[in-house]
């Protein structure tokens, strides 16, 4: 099974190495060549330097026979557009898009995009953590 991870920052690089450990054939894509270093010594997958908006870069990464694509660059709007292009132009069903803005994540989720919003997760976890503290909690309103 082949996966492409677009955006090889802290999140993308770890997703890439984890998928590789689970037996996926992984190619990472990033604008900066230095990002390769984040994949560590044991990286045996592919690495393509370029922007996710550039379809020739996607082709070089082997998009045409990818089974899954993770889009996790540091720009929400880039991720939104690249996610849709990958889905619509290359017909890939499993496209997962990281979005930091909960409002855009909710909207594009409704439009049929598989989005993951770390900000929403953080909000939930932080609120839960306060509720779980051993201090007097306000009465339910």
């Amino acid at each position: 099974m082949k996966a492409i991870v677009i955006g090889c920052g802290r999140v993308g690089s770890t997703v890439a190495t984890q998928l590789q450990e689970e037996g996926w054939d992984v190619v990472a894509v990033d604008e900066k060549e230095e990002a390769l270093g984040r994949l560590g010594e044991g990286w045996s997958g592919g690495f393509v330097v370029g922007h996710g908006m550039d379809t020739s870069v996607l082709r070089r990464a082997g998009i045409e026979d990818a089974d899954a694509v993770v889009v996790a660059t540091d720009g929400d709007n880039t991720n939104i557009v690249v996610g849709q292009v990958v889905q619509k132009r290359f017909g890939i069903d499993c496209v997962v898009v990281r979005l930091l803005d909960p409002a855009r994540a909710e909207f594009y989720e409704q439009q049929g995009m598989r989005t993951v919003c770390p900000t929403s997760n953080a909000i939930e976890r932080l609120t839960e953590a306060v509720r779980a503290c051993d201090v007097p909690q306000p009465a339910q309103v």
Binding site: M53, I80, V81, V85, R104
Partner: protein
């Protein structure tokens, strides 16, 4: 008419000025603080500060009314696409216009149905083609949604196709000749029309078939 413009660079700011001058209501959204302050000094309450791909900024700018038209002219193509999608799909804005900064991104705008678009590079390129028709083929009209375009070809003096009936030409699939202009006279192209050197031929074809059409009509 109420127009929402996103991006306060040269294009956005001048659009705002022009529309205000002829009496339209305008809101202009600019993300950069320094630019926003300069624009606010000039245009006052018309200008809103913020990133218009953030939903609360769009709402503060009045997207819920909704505007008659949203114009996305920031320097970032992804932002322009997202602004137009939000305007149309989430707020029911009828008309959007988007700026394409990098002509290589035009295919993404087309794929995602963001149209009409304006790309300065492509427009200037088309003018150059028109002024210097050395490629032998001039783009007259492009209809990206319908996936067709209309081009004009001038049949060169020593072209192989001269003297051949149109129905005997090996035209590429998806291409048709529409009309022939000869000695100032315009006629609809029929199968039995024979081409001559100097003819100005209009053709309709799918984008991307230009090279095949050139081979048929220009080769000598």
């Amino acid at each position: 008419m109420y127009v929402l413009i996103v991006g306060g660079g040269k294009i956005g700011a001048n659009l705002a000025r022009s529309l205000l001058r002829v009496g339209h209501e305008v809101t202009l959204v600019e993300q950069r603080r320094d630019r926003f302050e300069r624009l606010e000094d000039e245009l006052e309450h018309v200008v809103v500060h913020g990133d218009a791909t953030e939903i609360f900024v769009l709402e503060r700018a009045g997207i819920q009314r909704p505007p008659s038209i949203v114009v996305a002219v920031t320097g970032d193509d992804e932002d322009n696409i997202v602004i137009c999608q939000l305007a149309r799909e989430r707020y029911g804005v009828d008309k959007v216009i988007a700026r394409v900064n990098d002509p290589r991104n035009q295919v993404h705008f087309d794929l995602l149905g963001v149209s009409p678009t304006v790309c300065a590079t492509s427009s200037i390129m088309a003018l150059i083609e028109h002024e210097v028709p050395e490629h032998g083929l001039v783009h007259l009209l492009e209809l990206p949604k319908e996936n067709v375009e209309i081009v004009e070809v001038l049949i060169p003096p020593d072209a192989d196709c001269a003297g051949t009936r149109i129905d005997r030409l090996q035209l590429p699939e998806g291409a048709r000749l529409i009309s022939v202009k000869r000695n100032g006279q315009f006629e609809i192209a029929d199968g039995d029309t024979s081409l001559r050197a100097g003819d100005q031929v209009l053709a309709i074809l799918q984008p991307g078939k230009e090279d095949e059409l050139r081979r048929v009509l220009l080769k000598s």
